[in-house]
């Protein structure tokens, strides 16, 4: 054994919304849990979520979980698994109430209930008209939620390992997951976390693109670890481009701006969404709005000297509404776009925002892989929740607010499932003799590399390749070339060199390890996108411009070895609700 071993009942990797919600279940159940995080928990990227949490509380008018479910299935372009979607929408009110009880500072209505705002793709009565379903704390919902969850974990005495980066998954010969290796950033020390259950809540990997709303830490560490350990990644071709990233800066402007009454304008001052989505207009789902904006720009109706962006107008909401409901947006617009939205519109462009795909799980958060003829065989001891997981509730396109709902519902559900598993499986299984060896060899390679390229340059090439070859609109020749290019970049990643070999808080080493995770995500995205010959949700193929339910109503599964692709059926059967059959999607 090369590294010191520490034993826990469970290890949670990641302390964002999903990780901390799961950790809370485990800590309150009195289990010995280690929560590993690259950053202090309140710095996790959940902190940047703005608009709200989707839940059919019905505080502003009629609502039901079934309508929420319909909107989510339709939003997913029918690629979402309807059992998981029903589960999420039914559980949503309960987890929101719990969060309120934990102390979440939600905005309020005059009668004291939680205020809810309209959001893209959310409707009353199966698409009839927009509904107010997004539970929010001004435009800082993620911040308020993440801090509330951290605070509740402080109360529960959760054991956090702050600024520890997980390196690799440990599996035994039977495939059971027995923990992870992880590095303490301050000292460079590596430990084996030997756990009876391992839960990944490592977030997304939006940093594979040049223009991204995502934080620097969003490097798909869980996906990289899973892929290297032979677990496939599901539906990786589906990336959400958020309609309103600040042009040039990438920083997010919440859809809540449009929820509160803001709208998009082209260079002629036309409210063009009326043409693309007559009913929902600017509140159509994100793939539809992003595509409409990209089309306006492509056809020469973009704004500015370079005709390269769209304007988001909200001055008509008035100072009072902006200050009360969207204060953070005003701050961001002033800082990053040099405009005060009380007076002037904000220049925006579709910007990479969210990864719909991820580590395949069922709605209990158990990781599932094909074994023999069964496409959803549970990997014992392995769980995933939140953006790193693919349950799949978001399918080909996520609705705004459903991300935070996902974190709370599946964070809690996976925590509960872990508790049950631990009851049924007492005691630690033995670690394989070579546990930790793989991490040791990867670290040694990096430390001994000579004549290699800089992490910065190779990373930039990966991001440029993804941006140019796999963006909002996807073209067959660009995708084919993209696959070649990203494989070349992957080879270069294997030879990156860091100049700094020190042990104490060596962030150069961390960034090199992060790139090794990002490249798995980039490769899986490009390969899965090249193969999927249809247009569905966020995946828009110029050569196959329609959804093809006959051939492609199925989930992609990408394996790291030889970029092998497999597919599995979409679960159209819900838990209790009737199946929402795929139909033409209009807003």
């Amino acid at each position: 054994m090369t590294y010191p071993v520490r034993k826990f009942d469970a290890v949670v990797v990641g302390a964002g919304g999903a990780g901390m919600r799961a950790a809370l279940q485990l800590a309150e159940a009195g289990l010995k849990v280690a929560v590993l995080s690259k950053v202090f928990p309140t710095r996790s990227h959940t902190v940047a979520a703005q608009g709200g949490i989707g839940a059919s509380l019905g505080n502003m008018g009629d609502d039901s979980w079934l309508w929420h479910m319909y909107d989510t299935v339709k939003g997913s372009d029918y690629l979402g698994d309807q059992d998981a979607i029903e589960f999420m929408c039914r559980m949503a009110p309960q987890v929101v109430y719990e969060l309120e009880h934990f102390g979440m500072p939600f905005d309020r209505n005059d009668n004291g209930t939680v205020y809810q705002r309209p959001f893209g793709g959310h409707s009353q009565n199966f698409g009839e008209r927009p509904v107010q379903r997004s539970c929010c704390a001004a435009d800082r919902t993620g911040h308020a939620m993440l801090h509330t969850l951290y605070q509740r974990n402080v109360r529960a005495n959760t054991l956090f390992f702050v600024e520890w980066m997980a390196l690799d998954l440990i599996r035994d010969a039977s495939g059971q997951v027995l923990g992870v290796t992880a590095m303490e950033m301050e000292t460079g020390e590596v430990w084996v976390f030997h756990a009876r259950a391992t839960l990944f809540a490592t977030g997304g990997a939006g940093r594979i693109y040049s223009a991204s709303t995502n934080a620097f830490i969003n490097t798909g560490d869980g996906l990289g670890m899973a892929a290297r350990a032979g677990v496939p990644l599901e539906d990786m071709e589906f990336w959400q481009f958020h309609p309103t990233g600040v042009a040039g800066a990438g920083v997010l402007i919440t859809e809540g701006v449009r929820g509160e009454g803001g709208y998009l304008l082209n260079k002629d001052g036309e409210r063009f969404m009326e043409r693309y989505a007559p009913t929902m207009k600017d509140l159509a789902s994100r793939d539809v709005v992003a595509r409409a904006m990209a089309t306006e720009i492509k056809e020469g109706r973009g704004c500015g000297k370079e005709a390269d962006h769209i304007l988001l107008k909200l001055d008509h909401l008035g100072m009072e509404v902006i200050e009360k409901r969207l204060p953070g947006i005003r701050e961001i617009a002033k800082k990053f776009a040099n405009v005060d939205p009380v007076k002037d519109p904000i220049p925006v462009v579709p910007t990479c925002h969210y990864q719909m795909g991820g580590i395949p799980t069922n709605y209990h958060g158990e990781v599932v892989v094909p074994v023999g003829g069964e496409p959803n065989t549970v990997v014992p001891g392995f769980y995933a929740a939140g953006e790193c997981a693919c349950a799949s509730v978001h399918g080909a396109n996520r609705l705004g607010t459903n991300s935070l709902t996902d974190l709370l519902v599946f964070g809690k559900a996976s925590g509960d499932r872990v508790i049950q598993f631990l009851k049924e499986n007492p005691g630690h299984k033995d670690l394989p003799a070579d546990a930790g060896e793989y991490s040791r060899s990867r670290l040694a390679r990096l430390d001994n590399q000579t004549g290699g390229e800089s992490v910065h340059e190779v990373g930039a090439e990966m991001r440029r390749t993804m941006q140019a070859h796999c963006g909002v609109f996807r073209f067959p020749d660009m995708l084919t070339q993209g696959v070649d290019k990203i494989r070349q970049v992957a080879q270069r990643v294997e030879r990156t060199e860091i100049k700094d070999k020190s042990r104490t808080f060596n962030t150069a080493r961390i960034e090199a390890l992060e790139l090794e995770n990002l490249i798995e995500v980039a490769r899986s995205t490009m390969v899965s996108a090249e193969a999927r010959r249809e247009t569905r949700g966020a995946h828009d193929r110029a050569d196959f411009h329609k959804r093809d339910d006959v051939n492609w109503l199925k989930h992609s599964l990408w394996y790291r070895d030889n970029d092998r692709l497999d597919y599995k059926p979409v679960k159209l059967k819900a838990l209790t609700a009737e199946t929402f059959e795929p139909k033409v999607r209009t807003y």
Binding site: H101, G112, T507
Partner: protein, 231 residues
């Protein structure tokens, strides 16, 4: 653009030094963090924390030309050259611009920063009027970056005993919450010559807070409530 950056690697440096950098920036480099990322692409040994790059995660607090702030929302155009960057003052330096924040978080944890309410939770949400909720504005937005506490002389002198502006802002956030029932315990805990009363209202915290919050006002309100409680 010219920078002077505090460098210290405990493995090889006996003491810290200021290292000069003269870097060619691109038009897209608008914030200080953009420049630091560019410097790191040239010299990968420069260590700093950073994440969201939009002023909400609180990672990249540092001392910028003598004043604490977040690198990601500090515009380069507003900075005098050479830009002098140091770690947050008053906390032990781990390396370069990275400080050990244990003491800061210990103080935050000491005020029991979570809602306390022993009644059985209702089936739905606890009700709170918009006016009651408004009491939390200017309090809950804290990002725990530590700009305030590490600009406070009282915290420099007594980091183990004085809660500091960030922790006290959080304490008042729960005192002010209509749903919290532990007000008396919270006040008892703070009624101490050090924990609360080391604040002498010099308002450095207000001056540096990157979120525009006002810990001094929150501290004043706690003191007011304490006085009222006595009469």
């Amino acid at each position: 653009m010219r920078f002077r950056i505090y460098r210290y690697d405990p493995e090889k440096d006996a003491k810290p030094t200021m290292k000069e950098y003269d870097v060619a920036l691109e038009p897209s480099d608008r914030m200080l963090l953009d420049a630091l990322v560019r410097i790191k692409s040239i010299d990968d040994s420069l260590s700093l924390r950073r994440s969201c790059r939009e002023g909400v995660c609180g990672s990249d607090a540092m001392n910028i030309n003598g004043k604490n702030g977040l690198a990601c929302i500090t515009k380069l155009a507003d900075l005098k050259e050479p830009v002098e960057l140091r770690p947050l003052p008053g906390l032990p330096v781990i390396r370069d611009l990275i400080v050990d924040m244990s003491q800061f978080f210990k103080q935050y944890h000491s005020i029991k920063p979570y809602l306390q309410n022993s009644e059985a939770a209702p089936e739905k949400e606890r009700l709170q009027t918009p006016a009651e909720r408004e009491e939390l504005d200017g309090l809950y937005e804290c990002i725990l970056c530590a700009c305030c506490s590490t600009s406070c002389p009282s915290f420099w002198w007594n980091p183990d005993k004085f809660v500091g502006p960030a922790g006290l802002l959080a304490a008042y956030r729960f005192i002010a919450d209509s749903r919290d029932q532990a007000i008396n315990d919270r006040l008892d805990d703070l009624e101490d010559p050090y924990r609360l009363f080391r604040c002498h209202s010099i308002m450095n915290c207000v001056d540096v807070c990157p979120k525009g919050l006002n810990p001094t006002r929150a501290i004043g309100r706690i003191k007011d409530i304490m006085v009222k409680r006595m009469v």
